[in-house]
């Protein structure tokens, strides 16, 4: 009975967080899907999004949700920049090259970030109230973050399926050589995809900053979560990532009802390896 009420109180939280985790993973998995690159600079980019909220809200007084717009714009530009400088030359090289190239971007961002911001934790002192429904407490910031995630997911879907650049992105993801033959400007499309992936990561970071403290190093654990989610939802499947995020959120909500909280990462990562082995295309992907 106690476990049941624990579940009841923990699940909604897990689900709300799952949305935001899903948004972060969407950025990772989009890049993977389009260009088969695992972006190891994903974590620091999320952290940059967090600092985006911090500086806009704490220093300039911009509402965190309004602040998402400039953060998203900066995200796209930053992503394109990273693509052009670090990724484009190794896009056809073996995996190790692109992994290390993005890892060096990771080092550069963290190095500069540490010099400028130190590694101390920062807090965005922002609250959007909380709602109590029976025994369940829902925090306003998390509720809004979940809504924003849904908006972004919908937007991404429309962009990919209804616009010309979006269709180009899907064509390049499907078969780059064929898309090039059909006249798709693949370099620009790849850069745009990287920009979009980076934007999603930054926006998720910006949302996370409204409820969790963070430092320049904080992105690392969300990057690991994004890997897990990406694999759950199927690497390369942005919409699957949202469901993957929800599953992860639910797992994080459920496990503590039965085990000590410190077992959560054990189960998460064991599940991660298991799914890679059994269904590498993800829970929703076609069986290989």
């Amino acid at each position: 009975m106690q476990q049941f009420s624990l579940l009841l109180t923990s699940l909604p939280d897990g689900i709300l967080l799952g949305f935001v985790y899903g948004l972060a993973a969407m950025g990772l998995t989009l890049i993977w899907g389009v260009m088969n690159v695992i972006n190891l600079s994903h974590g620091p980019i999320i952290a940059l999004g967090m600092f985006g909220t911090f500086f806009l809200f704490m220093r300039a007084g911009v509402n965190p949700y309004v602040g998402l717009i400039p953060i998203a714009v900066v995200g796209v530009l930053l992503g394109v920049l990273i693509y052009v400088i670090a990724v484009h030359r190794v896009i056809n090289a073996p995996h190790l090259s692109s992994l290390l190239a993005t890892f060096s971007v990771n080092m550069i961002i963290i190095g500069l970030g540490t010099a400028a911001l130190t590694t101390s934790p920062y807090n965005v002192d922002f609250s959007a109230g909380s709602f109590k429904i029976g025994p369940v407490t829902l925090l306003g910031t998390r509720l809004i973050a979940a809504l924003v995630t849904m908006l972004f997911t919908g937007g991404l879907y429309l962009f990919l399926y209804r616009t010309r650049p979006g269709k180009f992105i899907r064509a390049v993801a499907n078969n780059r050589a064929a898309a090039e033959l059909m006249g798709v400007p693949s370099t620009r499309i790849l850069a745009l995809s990287f920009g979009l992936g980076t934007m999603l990561a930054m926006v998720s970071g910006a949302l996370i900053a409204t409820f969790f403290p963070f430092s320049i190093l904080a992105g690392g654990s969300y990057e690991l979560k994004s890997f897990v989610i990406g694999v759950l939802g199927g690497l390369g499947n942005p919409i699957g990532a949202l469901f993957g995020g929800l599953i992860l959120g639910v797992i994080e909500g459920i496990i503590p009802a039965f085990l000590e909280t410190s077992w959560v990462p054990v189960i998460e990562f064991a599940l991660f390896v298991l799914i890679l082995l059994v269904r590498p295309s993800g829970l929703f992907g076609a069986k290989k």
Binding site: T9, D13, P256, E260, V264
Partner: protein, 450 residues
């Protein structure tokens, strides 16, 4: 063409860096003297020369070596500890150093590297401090884990190491002879809190929720048996991973367990997050005590979430120890008063000192006292002075265990309980609430509902 030019350039840059790396570490070999001879042999070599001439004031610079965490998980507390130490060092040097009876004037110089909160290079850096920088005495890094690795280097070189932010007990029970601990050991951290709770609410149901790391686990290992011996019911015991950011599930468990009091926490990042989410979720606990985080002056950044959160503190300005207290106990007093220390610190940094600052300062103070008592900078004599030390400072009593089983463990120091309360102006201030004789406020119990 362009590409290969660039490749060559990159190779050159890399080669240059490597060469300069080798070059920089090679430069000290150019010094004419053989630096291999350890510092201790220098001192006796000079002493016979002195009686032949009347003692002219000889100035000796003692080098203190330590690493600090400029980056990484331990950054906040580590920097405070270093700030405290530097304050002491500058004060001593500005005051003209320490006068020894043979006319030698001892001044201090600090050599330090960044350990990045990472054990990988700690031993390398401490070896470098001892052998290249010729450090005479060592201060520990911040945190028990880093200190354990560094202590082995101190031990093998016979260097005295004063440990400040290294509370966990195990490191002092390894049979070493060079470590001297300033902090009350981890296993005793929450004892005074439990004593206070006993007077406030002996029926309290306690949830023990802590970070799953070396220090916090050690604290809890000491706490649990004591809680039980005092007749408290532990309704929940839970560890959480160090990088935890979402405390929702843990908090739900606390609520479900029916606990009225929470004891636990870990370090700054997780502790501040935990406190904030406890507040956001309106858990309504009567009392919350977290390790480390509430002791930091950044804690009120949490706003109202900080209200009522208590911590075990190694030292609080409001309950600073006094010469009268020392006299009453029959102990020798040494160093500035707490007010003097706090004023000096505030003059330099504009910030109020925390116990980590006080710990860093006290590390220097203890060393100063030991050098004065030994009337020498000979490591063996200083070590003997440390072992014999039984003093009182603004930081409190200092006395080290000298038994071989737990050599260097702090046994003279007591902790206080501090709590964030609101003053008349509605500002958050940290008040000392226990022990009653030094308290400047009553415990806020239960914490008012948000």
């Amino acid at each position: 063409m362009k590409r290969s030019v660039f490749s060559i350039f990159t190779v050159l840059v890399l080669a240059g860096l490597i060469l300069s790396a080798c070059g920089s570490s090679a430069t000290p070999t150019q010094e004419p003297a053989a630096p291999v001879a350890p510092a201790p042999t220098d001192a006796p070599a000079e002493q016979p020369a002195q009686p032949t001439e009347p003692p002219a004031p000889v100035e000796k610079t003692v080098i203190i070596g330590f690493t600090s965490s400029l980056t990484g998980a331990q950054e906040v507390s580590s920097k405070r500890q270093v700030a405290g130490f530097n304050l002491w060092m500058n004060q001593v040097n500005e005051a003209g150093g320490i006068q020894l009876s043979d006319g030698t004037v001892v001044k201090f110089e600090a050599h330090t590297y960044d350990d990045e909160s990472n054990k990988e290079r700690v031993q390398e850096l401490y070896t470098r401090l001892i052998t290249e920088d010729d450090a005479d005495f060592l201060i520990s890094p911040y945190s028990s884990g880093l200190t354990a690795a560094a202590s082995i280097i101190a031990e093998q070189n016979g260097k005295v190491m004063i440990t400040a932010g290294a509370a966990e007990d195990d490191a002092y029970k390894t049979g070493n002879t060079s470590l001297f601990q300033l902090y009350t050991p981890g296993s005793l951290y929450l004892i005074s809190t439990v004593d206070m709770l006993k007077t406030l609410d002996p029926e309290a149901k306690v949830a023990v929720v802590h970070e799953n790391d070396k220090f916090s686990t050690a604290v809890v290992e000491g706490l649990k048996p004591y809680l039980e011996s005092q007749g408290f019911e532990i309704v929940l015991e839970e560890g959480y991973a160090s990088e935890t950011t979402d405390f929702g599930p843990v908090i739900n468990k606390i609520v479900a367990s029916g606990a009225t009091v929470l004891l636990g926490g870990g370090h700054y990042p997780d502790g501040s997050t935990f406190a904030r989410q406890l507040y956001e979720r309106k858990v309504g606990l009567k009392f919350i005590s977290l390790l480390v985080a509430p002791a930091d002056s950044k804690f009120p950044e949490l706003g109202d979430a900080a209200l009522g959160v208590a911590t075990s503190s190694q030292w609080e300005l409001a309950a600073t120890h006094t010469p009268e207290e020392a006299a009453a106990l029959g102990k020798e007093w040494f160093g500035p008063t707490g007010e003097e220390f706090a004023a000096a610190y505030e003059a330099v940094t504009g910030d109020k000192p925390t116990y980590h600052v006080a710990g860093g300062y006290a590390a220097g103070l203890v060393l100063q006292k030991a050098i004065q008592d030994a009337d020498s900078i000979d490591p063996e004599k200083v070590k003997a002075a440390l072992e014999a030390m039984d003093i009182f400072t603004f930081y409190g009593g200092i006395k080290f265990d000298t038994s071989p089983e737990a050599h260097g463990l702090q046994i003279g120091h007591a902790m206080v309980v501090a709590q964030w309360q609101k003053n008349e102006a509605g500002e958050l201030v940290r008040k000392v609430i226990w022990p009653a004789d030094v308290a400047n406020a009553d415990p806020l119990y239960p914490i008012p509902a948000p």
